[in-house]
């Protein structure tokens, strides 16, 4: 477990940047002093403009474990202050300040004794910390059963498309809300309570549930889960929609 490390500031250097979608970038940072992080953790990035003006934002990590390389995928928010810079301008080799690792609640710990199944439910770019958990599960031979339900606008907007297809220890189901993949059996449409019930572990299995996405998505899904009989204390949520 990595959670005993104190939070502190680090310096990260951009090792690689690749467009994940047309409006999201995958950044790999080398952070020599990074102590590693749990799956689901996040960090704060702080940018300083030449005049001293600063802006800070939180981003979930797609990577976990005891590595000094961290990976994040940043979705550009129209009209945002920090995300357009990270997506469009931050160059390979450039340095940024990062604070972390952050988050000890919305995390999955591989060595846990608890073996009840884990249900991951993502809306849009909320898939990042959940992908991190599924990847951590992938590295373990034994452990809890994992399922991921991923609601995303269209195949073009999907994060981690290749990696998700290769997961062998997490059952992945993708719901396209606006536009389906060619030949998909299901027409596009928003997630409903019935579709949620059909695509997730039932309450009778007492799954631990992680939900991450925009506020409206998390509110709807968490509400349905409670209606479907899930124990509210087993449902952990992370919402975004704060600072742009």
């Amino acid at each position: 477990m990595i959670t005993s490390n104190r939070v502190r500031w680090h310096l990260g250097r951009v090792i690689s940047r690749q467009f994940e979608t047309g409006s999201a970038v995958r950044l790999e940072l080398a952070v020599p002093t990074w102590p590693g992080n749990d799956a689901g953790a996040h960090l704060d990035i702080r940018l300083t403009a030449p005049g001293g003006y600063q802006a800070s934002r939180s981003y979930s990590l797609a990577s976990s474990g005891e590595s000094t390389r961290v990976v994040l995928v940043v979705q550009e928010l129209p009209g945002g202050e920090v995300s357009p810079f990270l997506v469009r301008q931050l160059a390979e080799g450039e340095e940024v300040e990062v604070q972390g690792p952050l988050g000890r609640f919305f995390v999955w710990i591989p060595a846990e004794p608890e073996q009840s199944p884990v249900q991951l439910i993502a809306g849009g770019s909320g898939v990042v910390p959940l992908f991190s958990m599924a990847s951590a599960r992938e590295r373990e031979l034994k452990g809890a059963e994992f399922r991921l339900l991923y609601s995303v606008r269209s195949p073009r907007d999907e994060f981690f498309a290749d990696e998700l297809a290769e997961l062998s220890r997490t059952v992945v189901e993708i719901v396209y809300t606006r536009e389906s993949a060619p030949g998909a059996g299901r027409p596009p449409g928003r997630l409903t309570r019935e579709a949620l019930a059909a695509s997730t572990f039932p309450a009778s299995l007492s799954p631990r549930i992680f939900v991450c996405g925009p506020t409206s998505f998390v509110e709807a899904v968490a509400g349905w889960l409670v209606e479907l009989g899930h124990d509210p204390t087993q449902i952990r949520t992370e919402r975004f929609g704060g600072s742009r």
């Binding site: 403009a49 810079f85 609640f105 600072s243």
Partner: protein, 249 residues
């Protein structure tokens, strides 16, 4: 211009790492007091035990138009009101809601919805600051001052564990709750507090990061020491002063 500032401003966009202590560049004029100085100094250096690190992102412009002296460091103004909770929104009916203060003698002072309002509500206009980097200015709230609720409470303990429906907890020293600093709030922006924002009632302690302003609040328990609550056990600061960026530990 002070020499230390000039030096910082002429430093190229590279990292300056130093082993000197965390406040090595204190200006000669410290008559304003350390705390005031910490609030006013340029937000360029990163304080860190044993090191001062700097990096400047030369192509970052930023949205300086939103700068306002009421916004603490590391915060950004929002127009909407983001929702952040650890789990599902709790739906607590007003008819079922109550609030209690429990002392070391196991004496419980209890208010139901009507009794709370009989204590007397106040209108409050205040700024709020969330640890997830957003701030909202001049929010109109209505609530019952914690001072009034403590009028008949006898306790020798200095700390409080706040408890919510659903199990959330957060710790506060009594001195952050009294003297007009905190309320049990039931309305925001002219409307009853919605469930996702903690309705029917939440704690309002606007001078600290907003995780201290517990949603769906149901009571306070006096404690002899400052034991950590939920987020405080999960990596967040014991007190949470936004002006000192007491975010994490």
């Amino acid at each position: 211009m002070r020499p230390w500032l000039t030096q910082l401003m002429t430093t190229p966009a590279v990292v300056v790492a130093s082993r000197i202590s965390c406040l090595p560049l204190l200006p000669p004029d410290t008559s304003i007091g350390l705390r005031a100085y910490l609030r006013t100094r340029p937000p360029r250096r990163i304080r860190q035990k044993g090191a001062v690190v700097e990096v400047i992102n030369s192509s970052f412009g930023g949205r300086r138009g939103s700068s306002d002296s009421r916004v603490p460091p590391g915060q950004t103004l929002v127009d909407d009101w983001p929702v952040l909770s650890t789990g599902p929104t709790r739906n607590v009916d007003e008819s079922r809601w109550s609030f209690s203060i429990t002392t070391e003698d196991k004496v419980a002072h209890r208010w139901n919805w009507n009794k709370l309002h009989q204590v007397g509500v106040e209108d409050i206009v205040t700024d709020i600051h969330c640890v997830t980097h957003w701030s909202k200015l001049d929010m109109a709230w209505r609530g019952v001052p914690i001072d009034r609720l403590f009028e008949d409470v006898e306790t020798s303990y200095d700390y409080v564990m706040v408890r919510s429906y659903g199990g959330y907890t957060t710790n506060l020293p009594l001195e952050d709750l009294l003297d007009g600093q905190a309320w049990v709030a039931t309305e925001a922006e002219g409307e009853p507090l919605r469930p996702e924002h903690g309705g029917p009632a939440r704690l309002l302690v606007p001078h600290l990061y907003f995780w201290k302003s517990a949603k769906w609040v149901r009571g306070m328990e006096m404690m002899p020491s400052d034991d950590p609550g939920f987020w405080e056990q999960n990596g967040y600061h014991l007190r949470g002063d936004p002006w000192r960026e007491e975010r994490y530990w």
